[in-house]
Assembly symmetry: C2
Homo-oligomer: 277 residues x 2
């Protein structure tokens, strides 16, 4: 049996309460509920203002477990946008900048080109991120989001990019690694093997659950324990890779959790993290 | 540039017209439109009656490119049901019996066990299928269907099962191979490599398209050319593996193709097969 989850390592990804709360409220909410980590999304960060957010997060001594998100290399202004994201992550002291890499080039069916291009784009921003002390975390997204959100779709593929760009996870400070979100990778027959391969390159770990049935390809994620993912098993794999970071709850849920009182949501997150993760 | 698709190798998977037609109508429809292959589903086959269906298919000299489906090893009566499916495929002279293997055991989160069990179940029915001259085609299903329909989710994984059960694709008659459905595998970074590995174990090739956005996890497939799958490229990979079988159109489409006149659907299938595949 694995050890019980450590309450001090729970983090709130603000997507979980994005329908109810701005970032200031989410920061206050985490402080109120004793949640020690937070992962802001950049739209909410912009609303609140970067400096004010940084002050509030410091005032409550929260750890920024990741900034969501950089990437989307399919966008016209991808380079400027990623530079801004790196700067923001630096100001917040974020443990990583999560890269959702983007899908096919609009109008194109060339998946191989799209994937090659992603590797090139990351290679361009990587030196700047390294200089700013902001590790980049490539997040493989579920294959059902390959066309429109991210054409990096397995952990193996993400690690191949890391390898190609020269981060094999052996240096003291990992500049390019991965974000492992259970929702995207739980189905993967090679998951245990690839988490092992990732080792210290696991920069973030996101939890939620896969509902049966799933009624929407984007916004129908479940609370931990309500679906079919064996979260306790996955935690043993992550811990075997010596991941010592936070467990970040990220739930997109149009029909359920976004409609509830956000304080209730945080209570359930804490409870389920201890019971089901 | 690859050669143009051969009109004589188009097949209709009857799921494409399942809302409009019974099997007798689909057989007549194929004959009327000069479509030379057909892949029946077993519910429609039962409605028509096996012997009558076999007679009608023979009368029109259609090739049965596959019988859908065996598998679902999670069902209580899986063994009897698969034996019946093998017998039906034998009577129809089907080129393969497609195996949709089933997902998690209801109530369980143990994906590793579910996958091990599938290998065992296939090993039990394989000798009977071999004796009946019915090749079994494991169909990897899209990862979004891992929990409830099939926990074989990549071609690599399906081929690992084939390898484990002793069919390496080198014998003259392949008894255990794979069904490659573009909808399920198009996103896979290792697709070209694994199709090459499959070689003569590709027993069926299914076409349709991936729509953006996709509004349902099961029944929102697109007509070839309406989505983002590079079907022409995939055909070059399949042909490089010396696949010489049919291209079977299988479109589950609650909102669109199931609502149209079925003769129109067949006309569009033929047209798009020539233009977009």
């Amino acid at each position: 049996m694995p050890s019980a989850p450590d309450p001090a390592r729970l983090s709130l990804n603000t997507a979980t309460t994005r329908a109810q709360w701005g970032l200031a409220q989410a920061i206050e909410g985490c402080a109120r509920h004793g949640i020690r980590g937070i992962a802001p999304w950049r739209d909410k960060l912009a609303e609140m203002g970067l400096q004010e957010a940084a002050r509030a997060i410091r005032a409550h001594d929260l750890t920024v477990t990741g900034l969501c998100r950089g990437g989307f290399f399919t966008a016209k202004n991808w380079l400027d946008d990623n530079r801004r994201a790196i700067e923001e992550a630096h100001v917040l002291g974020a443990r990583c900048l999560v890269l959702v890499v983007g899908g096919l080039i609009p109008g194109s069916k060339d998946l191989i080109y799209a994937r090659d291009r992603i590797r090139e784009c990351i290679s361009i921003i990587l030196p700047e991120a390294r200089q700013a002390g902001v590790p980049l975390a490539i997040e493989p997204l579920h294959p059902m989001q390959a066309a429109d959100r991210a054409c990096v779709n397995t952990l193996e593929q993400a690690l191949d990019v890391c390898d190609a760009l020269g981060d094999d996870g052996r240096s003291a400070q990992c500049a390019l690694g991965v974000a492992v979100d259970v929702y995207h990778v739980w189905w993967d027959p090679k998951l245990e093997q690839q988490i092992k391969r990732a080792g210290k390159r696991v920069l973030a770990y996101h939890v939620c659950d896969w509902l049966v049935p799933t009624r929407d390809l984007l916004n129908d994620r479940g609370m931990m324990g309500d679906g079919v993912i064996d979260l306790k098993l996955l935690r043993t794999w992550i811990e075997a890779a010596e991941y010592a970071g936070f467990h970040e709850v990220e739930i997109f849920s149009e029909r359920d959790w976004w409609r509830r009182d956000a304080d209730d949501v945080l209570r359930v997150c804490k409870d389920r993290y201890l019971k089901s993760c």
